[in-house]
């Protein structure tokens, strides 16, 4: 297990390094360098940039300095807001985005598993078709379309929920719903498929032959095994939820990190784009790593398999 973790850890660090490097050189390859004087309007900002990037030094020195500051979690200044830094933006915006993302992920997992399980247990029945229709619709409707639809119906026409901002639990319902539907649909479809596969396995027949109740068979024997493929996509789903927050925060005017990011894109605020990308990538890569470890813990065969593999 230890060697497995170490191997995954190694891959994670390489990926992380790759994204940081990619970000740095891509940003510096923008025609007419984004950090030139002409781009900035403010002397204070130019000073901040100088201090952070050492723009007079050669590129590789700048790269080294950048890497060093990242290790100390210093993401640099903003071009457009003289007094602001990426760190300050993250401190303000990220907790809100994290809240939105976390609630969404939990909602998606719980409702997705529920839909998937009942669909599998009622295979080819009415419930199955209903659940899968919901799931295919959930995958097909882009979250920004769903978001506007929800605002139009539940906020503007019927005024059940507030249409924008992030204050009370009531404010959270629509954005969460808009963001969670896609991932929920994916989890539901995956759970159903994997449940159906697991339910035909020999060990389920063995469990039946012991006289176990259907509830026990489903939750103790089937679900544990059926969860394995679901766990593997959690990392990817977290990524899609995270990028989804960009759109959702824009539509619902939620003052999260995603909105800063979208703003920085339209302003071409390059240090903010860089900082946010690196920060988000780190979170996602760590998520993927944790998912791998969780998978190893859930499936006892992994340890041996990896040992044999070496």
């Amino acid at each position: 297990m230890t060697s497995y973790i170490l191997k995954r850890l190694g891959a994670m660090l390489v990926t992380l390094w790759l994204i940081v490097t990619l970000t740095f050189f891509l940003m510096h390859s923008v025609p007419g360098s984004p950090f030139n004087e002409e781009r900035t309007t403010n002397e204070a900002i130019q000073k901040n940039l100088e201090a952070y990037f050492h723009l007079d030094e050669p590129l590789y020195v700048q790269y080294g300095i950048y890497m060093k500051s990242l290790v100390t979690f210093d993401f640099g200044p903003s071009i457009k807001r003289s007094s602001d830094s990426v760190n300050a933006m993250l401190e303000r915006g990220f907790p809100i985005s994290f809240e939105l993302g976390f609630i969404t992920l939990v909602t998606a997992i719980v409702s997705g598993l529920f839909l998937g399980i009942i669909a599998a247990l009622r295979h080819n029945g009415f419930v199955d078709y209903l659940a899968m229709t919901i799931a295919v619709l959930g995958i097909s409707i882009p979250n920004f379309v769903l978001a506007t639809l929800l605002i139009q119906q539940l906020a503007v026409t019927y005024e059940i929920f507030p249409a924008a901002t992030w204050q009370s639990p009531m404010h959270m319902v629509l954005p969460t719903l808009a963001l969670a539907t896609g991932p929920m649909a994916i989890i539901a479809r995956l759970t159903r498929a994997s449940m159906l596969e697991v339910l035909t396995q020999d060990y389920i027949r063995t469990a039946k032959a012991k006289g176990l109740s259907p509830v026990k068979i489903v939750f103790k024997h089937a679900l544990r095994n059926a969860m394995l493929p679901v766990v593997t996509v959690l990392g990817t789903l977290a990524a899609s939820i995270l990028t989804g927050t960009f759109v959702i925060e824009k539509i619902f005017a939620i003052p999260g990190m995603g909105r800063y990011f979208v703003e920085s894109i339209s302003n071409r605020d390059y240090p903010v784009i860089m900082g946010t990308t690196v920060f988000y990538s780190a979170i996602l890569i760590i998520m993927l790593f944790l998912v791998d470890i969780a998978y190893g813990l859930l499936d006892p065969r992994i340890k041996l398999h990896k040992k044999e593999g070496r």
């Binding site: 020999d202 032959a209 006289g211 103790k220 024997h221 095994n225 065969r301 041996l304």
Partner: protein, 335 residues
């Protein structure tokens, strides 16, 4: 001797894409207390389906028990509500499956999988159940069971896993053990050990065993009585001696001739030509007609009635009719 299980005219059908498959078409047999009954036949003859029907494990849909009775302790299991049948399953009648590699849940410890059966059926404390499981693992020949209990199936060899399956099946001291091809997936040397274990356990516990197999070698070693199945019907039953030394059905003879024998140099290996009929549209007469060396007109038209040759020996074949005896029938002798 006491009849512990009676199967009467059992019929099982599966609905599929292309129509209804009649997998079991009126199977009748008794199981006596403490005996080993082998059900023999080639793949697809309905022997596994029969065993699953007794356990109530026919996947439904697409399968269903279309008729007949399974009588155990004066109750017809087929008419029991699912909940009551579940109380019988694993407690009074338990089952071992063909492939021990896939029959155990890979994500649960072996100990947990043994214990959960007894906890389901008996009011018993967990620690007691554990002790029982350890005893049982000892009985089936797993060394250091205390530490093995905490391990996962992939940490065991195939033979060991089958021993665990047996321990799992016996934990509630059932009266009937159904073993569906229990040795097919194992090496020959391991096969012998497992068969030895079966005999040992039967001597100690008096459990009745239904052994489903296509391997006549296995049958010769452990069976008291044999039922030969073909195309969803039992065509001949008898004691081991009667079936091996006085087979009456041409199919039984064919089976015996197609087994390689080391003890006789002159014995020629004769395969049965052709393959069993498609059970989408089973023939009206004897299903073996098309492959039978001695087939008569009647065979393709009417299914043969039962002929009782001795207290134990019964056969369904028109060759038993006196009118057929007059014909020159190719005589196959098996000494």
């Amino acid at each position: 001797m006491e009849k512990i299980l009676q199967v009467k005219d059992l019929q099982v059908a599966f609905k599929t894409f292309g129509g209804e498959v009649q997998a079991v078409r009126g199977v009748t047999f008794d199981l006596l207390k403490g005996e080993t009954l082998a059900i023999v036949g080639e793949s697809g003859c309905g022997k596994s389906v029969t065993s699953q029907a007794i356990m109530g494990l026919i996947p439904s849909p697409p399968g269903k028990i279309a008729g007949g009775e399974i009588i155990f302790k004066n109750r017809d299991l087929t008419s029991l509500p699912e909940k009551e049948w579940r109380n019988v399953r694993g407690a009074d009648i338990s089952m071992i499956f063909q492939d021990p590699m896939t029959a155990l849940n890979p994500t649960l410890t072996v100990g947990e999988q043994i214990i959960e059966g007894i906890i389901q059926h008996e009011k018993i404390a967990r620690t007691q159940a554990k002790a029982k499981a350890i005893d049982m693992l000892n009985l089936v020949g797993i060394p250091v069971p205390e530490s093995r209990m905490k391990q996962y199936p992939h940490q065991f060899s195939g033979g060991m896993r089958q021993r665990i399956m047996i321990a799992m099946a016996l934990i509630c001291q059932p009266e009937i053990l159904i073993a569906d091809e229990p040795t097919t997936a194992l090496d020959v040397t391991i096969q012998a050990q497992i068969l030895e274990l079966f005999r040992d356990i039967q001597n100690r516990t008096g459990v009745s065993i239904v052994l489903i197999t296509h391997d006549l070698g296995v049958v010769a070693q452990v069976a008291d009585r044999i039922a030969v199945m073909y195309a969803g019907k039992i065509v001949e039953t008898g004691t081991r001696r009667e079936i091996f030394y006085n087979p009456q059905h041409p199919y039984t003879r064919g089976l015996l001739q197609s087994v390689p024998r080391l003890d006789r140099e002159d014995a020629e290996l004769i395969p049965i030509a052709g393959s069993p009929p498609d059970l989408f549209a089973p023939p009206t007469g004897c299903p073996f007609t098309a492959r039978c060396e001695s087939a008569m007109e009647v065979c393709s038209r009417v299914y043969p009635i039962e002929t009782k040759l001795s207290e134990q020996h019964q056969v369904h074949c028109w060759l038993q009719d006196q009118r057929a005896r007059k014909l020159a029938v190719p005589v196959i002798t098996i000494s």
